[in-house]
């Protein structure tokens, strides 16, 4: 396709160009999936570390989620493509992640054995599952 000439084109050429551009844009919008995956991994490590560490270490680690949020905003602001309906798509996963975090915290404080255990791993996996679901949504797009 000539860069500067806007002459006529066939329907097949138009359909092929639409296919090419939309595929490339969707590929570039997948950064949201990779970001959510990174958040899930970082959060999982954070929950395990905080759940297994002593009280003082847990307190020292507590500002990490704020750092993570800052990193997310920094990464997001540098991306060239914001995927279609990103806000609407991400909202349920973020709300679910917040609900899971609060529920997980309550479970840990009330019925869970303190310190590292298989239950802690399961609980951490449950708490990050909304991020994993969001990552899957974007990466399969």
């Amino acid at each position: 396709m000539d860069a500067g000439h806007d002459g006529g084109m066939t329907a097949q050429a138009a359909a092929a160009e639409i296919d090419r551009t939309s595929r490339q844009v969707r590929r570039r919008a997948r950064w949201q999936g990779w970001l959510l995956l990174a958040v899930a991994v970082a959060d999982f490590g954070f929950y395990i570390a905080v759940g297994s560490a002593s009280h003082n270490v847990s307190r020292a680690l507590s500002p990490l989620p704020l750092v993570l949020v800052a990193v997310i905003f920094l990464v997001a602001s540098r991306q060239p493509v914001i995927g279609r309906d990103a806000g609407r798509v991400n909202r349920p996963y973020i709300v679910a992640a917040l609900v899971a975090a609060v529920a997980g915290l309550v479970l840990y404080q009330t019925v869970m054995p303190q310190g590292f255990s298989g239950w802690l791993v399961l609980l951490a996996a449950f708490m990050v599952s909304p991020f994993l679901a969001g990552a899957w949504r974007w990466l399969r797009w």
Binding site: M1, G7, M9, A11, A15, A16, T21, S22, R23, R26
Partner: protein
Amino acid sequence: MAPLVKTGGSHPRYRLDDMIHAPVRLSIVSALAAADQVDFRFLRELVEVSDSLLSKHMTLLEDAGYVEITKGYQGKRPRTWYTLTDAGRDAFAAYLTALHEIVGTAGDQQPPATDGRGPHARS
């Protein structure tokens, strides 16, 4: 196949929007239709045009009410974002419908390349 020429009539080609049915603008609009926002640099590389030509087409699309332009800064670096308006999305949907009819009436001779979502692929 000869280029699509519009002279008036009932054939679906007469419904192809001139503002979209031009190679550079078609690439731009189809890229914007697949996203909420796309920045200038990415679009320029995707469409493979110069800064000035891209700006010219973006101004035309903005004047037609199809594109919204947002200018800002990332640190000290200026950035320009493009968004397809509701009118632009409606026009592109109508364009895709007409294009689909044309490709359909062309039979199975040369099906368009797709990634499994077809030319109507939109998120």
